[in-house]
Symmetry: C3
Subunit: 356 residues, 3 copies
């Protein structure tokens, strides 16, 4: 595609010599691997040095990014939101593979299920009774939908995703391989003798429009009500969301995060990798919890929390910096103790004559 | 079901106006979502306020729970063990979905395998040679049993559960979706050049009666002997149990717990979310390890441990509380040092004349 | 097999009475469960006491291991690398189960796919178009290969492993059940309103010769380039390797490790259980990160790191030891403060007369 076409289609400003308009790019690549027929992008100033060494044919950059120091200069496609523009360029020039529409002869679809037009249903997919899928669903091989699952338009589920009975899925939801929606919550009642009786887990799961849940993550069904994942929320691999959680809109749960039961995560909160949140507490809107941190209390909106148990990030940085010097502090305490005792002894010996 | 019937069937005491006996409830719901035809329950006093606002038709409560302040008063079903009674009420009034008995035509069952009566075998289930299942098995779509798996009565396995060769499963065991039983242990021998030779993992896994293992958790086979999960033990999602572990009876392993090889967890121990236990150590009977903690040594029975590395919970609470004040402690140390040096200097100047 | 045969085949030195050469062992077992027809092994001196109580017919030991104190004495097979010898003995005498070659009639193999000779393809395996597998592949039931996957000789994939489109797999690679190769990376561009646009993940994954990835672990595809796992690298269960990571050769990633995007792990590094590494940093060759630790900076080659955030292991041991005594330190600080104020007051009162 010619750069002027690309600029028009993505609403970007083309900056460069007059001949740049006619340059053709056919794909998108990273700075390091790009060739003259590739578009690349620079999202952060620290990548300008790598950009200067790149063989890319053109670059997407932000409005204020300096031009990388290369001769000949790069044609630049300037964007207000360069990461978004890069995402759009990839979707245009190097679209992800997608199977053709059609239903594989080995798929098992219950006669009572309704699959909308345009669907691609892969080998050995199993769709239970009374399921209803909107338009353009893509179910890769071995996806299992239990009975009474509903999904909106554009549902994309990768191989071995499992959706348990009664789950309600919005429009444009993506499940990566191995995701489990609606597994039983971890609900058991302890008997007097220390054994446990299972509490039947008869609630459901609801996934909002545009949410994406990545590989082998688990969203448990509620005990009685609904476990909710809000619209636009993105969940990385191997994440645990327990029964009755309420995760808001545009939340980010990074890999291996664990939410215990009845946790509330408000809109746009960000939980970094391996974070744990205890049950029955609320993480406020836009709060950030840094990697490996944990909390068992409510977190106010907008704050950044670190540590296990977590507290304010700035204080935590100071505390962890002091932590490695704890042995020095112990030694200093012992020295101070010794010196004070010396001083006291000396003062006692000074004052002793006064009292005698 | 009439409340007097329900009280009789669950062995509860019905408390309320005479007319209460004839009230009908048809389902169980949470306090917030219950309507007049729903039973709800109050297990903790902190939920009494929510109970007072509930529209539930009746409540299960413990023997000493105060009546919620609602007019008209709730009919109360009093139980010695109210959580158990609630579980039984849900099982009675709102039973979990369960597929009808029958064998799906797409299932692949080896002719040498024996499946007991009453089984429900879903689409694309694969059962290998010489497997033996007891009565009333439910294998949801895509369950895979490798050869020589045996399971007792009432085996329930959800979609995509995998049971490797030779695994021995007791009565009444439940596997949620994606569980892997008997994957190879992480056993490798290091060669002189830093590379690794695989140690064939030829032991097995044994799962005790009534155990439940939840979504995408992994119980590795032993190298040579048996990895054991005791009866009644409950294991949440995304848990790792390594080769040769011995997990006792009625143990609770919460989500994302990891046990390294040859770990022993004694009966009724509780490991909260994201806990890690190093290999070759023992967690004593009834011990509790709080969330995100870790241990690489033995834990005595009955204690509560926190932190990574873990120590006594009460001491840990005090230590973590002090941790956030570490920078203050550093400052105070520096102030004390300065003051002591001032004092010492002053004493030296005082005493100097004495010695001159 | 006679011990003299075994010694010859594994290149070991047989030590024992002349009659030992004719002793027959038929299997390998642990010290505790071995009978007279079993071979066992002792790799560490702390197992000598257990060895002395063992009924094994013979033992593999290192060149310098003392003979266990049993009467009659054990025939000993001495090895330069006893763990390797034990692995070879198990492979010889107690080989892991392996399905016979053949293609199950239910498998779905696209006509354009090429499967090399000697393959065993299980029930409901799905192989997409243009896949190419070398000799002697073993695909257990329900393995899914998306289109354009290539694998070398001896590819072994357990049930429910998923390999996404375009993944390149070397020779002798093993995937345990539920592994996901090539799931989409967690790449999203944030819009001004806090919502996210998906960045198409169109890179691939490459797995080096002899690597093994265990149950339910996830290796994400790169955004644009290649996520690489080096040859001989071994990855335990439930591990997360994010997009664009470069994991070197003979690396060990223990269970539940998480690597964020663009992380580099150099050859022979060891990351213990539940370790987390932030994105865009490098863990040097042979470095060791102990369990539950985390790092967001580069780690030099060869060092051992602990803690979250991590620092030198020896310093960390001292710091964690001091940590549990933090409340004592606080108390001591308060006592020192009180004593210093007493001393200062006394000095003031002493000196007061001088000034008056």
């Amino acid at each position: 595609m010619r750069l002027d076409d690309l600029a028009r289609r993505l609403n970007l400003t083309l900056e460069g010599p007059p001949a740049a308009v006619a340059i053709e790019v056919t794909s998108v690549a990273s700075l390091a691997s790009a060739t003259a027929s590739d578009l690349a992008f620079v999202l952060e100033p620290r990548h300008l040095a790598a950009a200067a060494r790149s063989n890319a044919g053109a670059l997407i950059v932000g409005q204020k990014m300096p031009a990388p120091a290369r001769t000949p200069a790069f044609p630049l496609l300037r964007a207000d939101e360069p990461a978004l523009a890069a995402a759009q360029a990839i979707a245009l020039l190097r679209p992800a593979w997608r199977p053709a529409p059609g239903i594989h002869p080995t798929a098992s679809i219950h006669p009572s299920a309704v699959v909308g037009p345009g669907a691609s249903i892969g080998a050995f997919v199993a769709i239970g009774e009374h399921c209803r899928l909107g338009r353009d669903a893509v179910l890769h091989p071995h996806v299992v939908l239990y009975p009474h699952v509903t999904a909106g338009d554009g549902f994309l589920a990768h191989a071995h995703a499992v959706v348990r009975e009664g789950t309600v899925i919005g429009d444009g939801v993506t499940l990566q391989p191995g995701v489990v929606l609606g597994g039983d919550g971890f609900g058991f009642a302890r008997r007097g003798d220390g054994s446990h009786a299972k509490i039947p887990q008869v609630g459901t799961v609801a996934i909002g429009d545009g949410a994406e849940i990545q590989a082998n993550s688990c969203i448990d069904r509620a005990s009685l009500d609904v476990t909710r994942i809000g619209p636009g929320t993105i969940i990385d691999n191997l994440v645990q969301v327990a029964h009755n959680c309420e995760v808001g809109a545009d939340v980010i749960l990074c890999s291996q995060v664990g939410l215990a039961g009845h946790t509330v995560i408000e809109d746009q909160a960000i939980l970094a990798g391996q974070v744990g949140v205890a049950g029955h507490c609320t993480v406020g809107r836009g709060a950030v919890i840094t990697a490996q941190s944990g909390t068992h209390g409510d977190i106010p909106p907008g704050v950044m929390i670190s540590g296990s148990p977590g507290f304010g990030h700035a204080e935590w940085l100071r505390a962890t910096s002091a932590f490695s010097r704890l042995p020095d502090m112990q030694r200093e305490l012992r020295r101070l103790r010794a010196e004070i005792e010396q001083i006291s002894a000396r003062l006692s010996s000074q004052s002793a004559p006064d009292q005698s």
